[in-house]
Every structure is written in C-alpha cells, then in structure tokens.
Amino acid sequence: MNSRLSAITLNTFREAVRDRVLYNLILFVLLLVASAPLFSQISIGLEKLMLVNVGLSSISLFGVIIAIFIGIGLVSKEIEKKTLYTILSRPVRRWEFIAGKYLGLLLTLVVNAVLMTAGFYAALLIFIHSLAGTDARMLIAVYFIVLQFMMMVAITLLFSAFSSPIFSATFAFALFVIGTFGEDLKNFAAMSHGATKYLVTGAAYILPNFASLNVISQVAHEQNVSGQLVLFNTIYALLYSVAVTVGAILIFERRDLK
C-alpha cells in the first residue's frame, strides 16, 4: 500500500476513535448484560438462541449505523471545513483520498466488530457457561457482517462524494433497508412478466442484497453454512464494493470542490 493511502486510512481511523465512536461498545456490553435476566426467564435451550440472535444482530446493526453516520461525513465534512484543500495541494491523487477514506472507515468497523465479537463470546461464556465446538460457526456470521460493512461503506461514500450529509444518510439508510429485503425483490422479479420483469430484475442486480449475507438465525439454530455460500458472498461483496467505490471515485475525480 502506498504511504499516502495508508496515511489517509490511519488518519480516518484515528478520527473515528477520537470521536469516541467506539464508545458504542460499552453500550453493546450493557445491552447484553441488561438483557441477561430476560434470557434466564426462558428455558435453557432458548436462552442461547436468544443470546446469539441479539448479540449478532446488534454487531450488525451497530456497525451499519456507524458506517452511515461516519460515512456520510467522510468527504462532505472535508469539503465543508476545507481540510481537503490542504490534502489536494499535496501529491495526493483524488482516488487515493477516496480509497483511503474507504479503508479507514472499514478498518474502524472491523476493529469495532472484533471487539464486539469478543464481548459477545464473553457473554456466552458467562451466561451459558460453555462454548461448544460448533460455536465457531458464529464467526462465519460475523464474517458475513463484515462483508455487509464493506458494501455499506462503499454506498455511503458514494453518496458522500456528491451530496449533502442529510441526503446521503437518508439514501444510504433506504438502501440498507431495501437490501435487507433483497431476496423478496428477486422473488418478485421471478414472478413478474414483461417490462416489469426486466425492470425489477435490473433493480435487484443494482440494489445491494444483504439477505444472503444474513445467516444469524441459521447459526443460532446451529445449522451449517455451506462453503459455497461463503465463496459466493465473498465474491459478491467484493465486486459490489469495488464497483460502487469506483463510481464514487469517478464522481469525485472531476468535481469542483468549493
């Protein structure tokens, strides 16, 4: 990685950490602890099911919220506060700026997810008193959550590259919600005919699909995740993120920053 890219990446990470974004970790742990009495009301088998569902879902949701809230300001804040002026007057290529911002926010989210996962496993140990060998399967769910972050960061960055934070937040969140029901869109496409079919199929390909990235309830029910799905999801998330980030770069490349 070239030194300018790594400098921008690390500075983006540093900004997030100093803005106390990772404080939500404390909230996460508190949430798990507070919900513990709830779990013990339910029978032993269900207790774990609940904990896995709540734990993994919050890792995903917290991350997406951070991705949107930091992501929307990544570029627009630097333009508004004119800090970008002192960056672009250096040998920094515009694509390096966007790519550095992308990697910096992704790094923040990965660190966040790793810490949360550690907290989650600790909670499992405390409340269930044991970790089964099959619990490693939950790491696949976490991996998919990180893939989802990759896509969400790219999406918010794309909006941030050309519009205001409020617009970006609204649209990024809308895409997140749509993407969560991505499978329904595909089913709808399969059922429809004629022009509608082409339109909906096209939309299903352009819009993000987070449905196949969500295996939380599967692993909570101790079901296996196929290696094929892992491979498919990895390729899908990579391609989607790269395509969207390239879009963000192309927009940013020719933009007057005033």
Binding site: T83, R90, D256, K258
Partner: protein, 312 residues
Amino acid sequence: MHAIEIRALSKDYPVGFWKRTLRPALKSLDLTIEAGETFGFLGPNGAGKTTTLKLLMGIIFPSSGSATILGKDFLDPEIKRKIGFLPEQPYFYDYLSAPELLDYYAQLSGVPAGVRKQRIGELLSRVGLSDVGNKQLRKFSKGMLQRVGIAQAIVHNPDVIFLDEPMSGLDPVGRHEVRELIQSLKDDGKTIFFSTHILSDAEALCDRVAVIHKGELRGVGVVNDFRSSVADKTEVIWLGAGALRAVEESVVEPHITGDTVRGTVQSADLDRVLDILRQRHARLISVTPIHRTLEEYFLSKTREREKEPVQL
C-alpha cells in the same frame, strides 16, 4: 524558467437554482512569476484571488486556460511535492495535535519517515509553537492556527509557496510575526505568491504586485517604484499666468486661479520648465514631487471602469 506561468486561466461558476447561468469569477488571467520572487496578488473582496489559488492547487478545474509551475503542468501530482499552500481562514483536523498534523501532512507530501520528527520539531520552533506539546488543535487560538497553517505549507520544504490572505484575522502582533515568517522564507530564496488586501503587507514584502478586480487583471507593478525616492511627477505652482503659453506642452492639466497656475510636470521635464518660467519672470510658489503610493495604484486599478474619467 518561470516559477509560475499562468496562461489565459478562466473560471466560470454556474449560478442560480438550475445552475444554468455561468458567472465568470476569473477572466483569462495571464501572469508570470519569476523564481525567488515574492509576488502579491491584490484585489478587493470577491475579486477572484481565492478562485485563482484554488485553480492552481487543483481543487477546482479551470473553464479554460492552463498554468505551469516550475515548468511542469500545474495538475501534475509530482509538482505538488515542490509547492506549499495555506488556504484562507484555514481549519485543520481539530482532533490532532500540532505535531501529529504536521506528521500527517509530511507523510502525504512524501517526506521520508527518518527526517520527519526532527524537521517537525524545528518547524514548530520556527513558527513559535514549540511549547504547544500534544494539545489538540481544537484548543488553539486563531493566531496559533494560522502559524500551524504556515507550518503545514512548508513542512516538506517546498520551492514555491502559495498563501491565501496569510495575515487576515490576526492581531497586530500576529500580523507582524507572520510578516517576519514570510520575510524569512523570502530570505531562504523561496518563491512566494500571496493574496492579500492589506496593502502595507504587500508593500513591505513583495517584489511585484498584481491588482485583480472583478476577475480581471488590472495591472502589474514593481513595488520598488512605489517607494523609490525619485518621483516621476512633480507638482509646480507659480504666479504669472502669462508664462503658461511657453511651457504648455509640458504641463499636464493646468489649473488657473486668477494669476496662479497649478499643474503637474514629468520629472524629466522639470529643469527645463523651471528655466523657462524663470526666464519669463514667473514667481515660483512651490515645487512638490508626487509619490505614487501602492494605495493610489490599487485604488486607480480597482476603480470601476464606468466611473473612470474619459481620457481625451
């Protein structure tokens, strides 16, 4: 080789709700700045100074025209290792300390890791910030920020330095210190291009100035001419209107009040005019050299075209 060469650089901003109309902010600017020169870019508010600097820095793109810096195209990323830029009213990442900020910028400008720490230490004391420690920039005063701004512009030891209103918003002490800093950069042989509307700063620091108004270059002047002891015009007042006929072609805009004549004479013609007046027995009342100040120059160049007296 010129340090900076600006060729027919223009910028139109789209304005209005639909961004349909274009309004020119900079109209075909031509300007060359020599290596080692300190060049003042003067103009009233909204003249197009910041627009010019943003164009040169590649922050916005020109509608037409181009420029070279140190002989290379101004958009060539490699040329940016050799230039430094202080934006107007700069703001920096306020979660960083001054050394962290300078280290970040040095890294972006390709300063090798081995020399960064030492250079940043030296730089902080050069701009009078050696005692700030690890205080975050959000706690800095405006004057301190301006010094950080100058430090970031020179952290990679550039050859050409662009400063957008480096003294604005500073108290008299701060202004003086920034002036000294620019002077020391000038003494180091750097090429400095700075915009300002504080004429005394330009007069104290610059070799040459350009005056820009409403996006148009109105003139380029050598600062020494404004402060030289030899005035190019002299005002002469004498008693004896009859003598005017003999010197008429050398006296500009003569005003006659009763028997008293007041007019301006080119300094080169002065001796001859005075000789003739004596021969005609006119009584000299006063002979006053007229120094044209930078302020007068600025005002004359920025006066609205429409209001300018019609020259016959």
